[in-house]
Symmetry: C2
Subunit: 262 residues, 2 copies
Amino acid sequence: MEIALAASQKHPAPLYTLGPLIHNPQAVEYLEQQGIRVKNKVGQITRGTVILRSHGVSSGDLEKVRKKGLKIIDATCPIVKKAHFFAKFLRRNGYFLLIVGDKDHPEVEAIRSYLDEKVEVVEQPEILSRLGPWKKLGIIAQTTQSFELFEKVVAASLYRAREVRVFNTICHATAVRQKEAVEIAKKVDCMIVAGGYNSGNTQRLSGICREVQPQTYHIETASKLNPNWLANKEKIGLTAGASTPSWIIHEVEKEIRRITDR
Amino acid sequence: MEIALAASQKHPAPLYTLGPLIHNPQAVEYLEQQGIRVKNKVGQITRGTVILRSHGVSSGDLEKVRKKGLKIIDATCPIVKKAHFFAKFLRRNGYFLLIVGDKDHPEVEAIRSYLDEKVEVVEQPEILSRLGPWKKLGIIAQTTQSFELFEKVVAASLYRAREVRVFNTICHATAVRQKEAVEIAKKVDCMIVAGGYNSGNTQRLSGICREVQPQTYHIETASKLNPNWLANKEKIGLTAGASTPSWIIHEVEKEIRRITDR
């Protein structure tokens, strides 16, 4: 967000992001107000500056942007960049690569686009029994994946490979958030998870909380809070996805306090 | 066993093994009848031939044997040798090393003796939370360890390291035996595990079977079979440790058939 907003001050219009900068509609709306528009395809952009979003960009799109002579501002998350680095490192050193992640998440799609065919995206540990065996197996994760799935895939892979080399590419902040959210969810009577409905990590956060606290609700904004959820609840927990802007979290908190009068 | 028995034909007495060749008293007794005696310390041997046993030998003992000019016959299990190789490889490449195994098992003691201090033997995954964190972590296992523990330690280590490099050094035959024994134990009414009482892998095998079949009995020889265990049991399962000689397994099978008259 900071990189994009700074760019809107420094660079002349038009400014674009390739796909939404982050998976949060309110944040994207705010950026549009600052003159930063979303285009989903490079073909829709003819001139100006392109901001590469946090999830990274595919090799095909990057090439197109370069060919068109568009100005590039790289806002790829540095943690995502590290995942790219380790993925390439493992393939270069002869490891078959597993990416623990969602097949159609833009981050995973971008990472895959720089690699050859000896890569498999793993969404559940069960498929491991149908893959391999390998002599050398490398594993990385989508940066916002749940640690639980990562752990299960690595454990299952031990049966299928002589050597397993794992780089823990899960974003530390995300991992800590997931752990802490579960701890909170256990202690409260109702858990609110704030974040974009299209945000994979917010969905996961909400899923993880729901396992220990059935009264877990995923909302995008404060206006989606249902007072019935909070009625007669002594303790209410609140957490938010990695891409949820802090102003939205504050609004949700304020709204919870208003409804429950505390 | 074959290497040792062949040696007893080729080499003049005295012939020794450093510690019991394998963890099975009956097999060791048979070897003694063939003139191959057990000595627990190099100091007790002054001349002749030393057979290095399946578990491997510590660097200190090896040096002493060499200094004394004793003849060496290496009967170290080739799978154990591979574990030594990977342990050294990981340390040489800057990985802190975890050995999943029993601290006082001779195989683990031997492997450790060739390494420096940046090694930890892990008997339970819980201790991981008190170790590290590391940038580069290597993991191997005692060759006869349970896959379950190996899996748990690797999973727990993911929280403690940026990179985890695992060599699966568990003996394939042992791993398959454990898996199959559990499958059998689930389907029978009583499970017999034959093998040395001092054999770690037989103890583990029996422990793994007992989890799914409470009526699991670990015996060393056929004479230890209690007919009461088998009374009114429709299906009886039989498995044996890695070091259990086949003649003992056959004797146990014969005795089960005699007692149950089938």
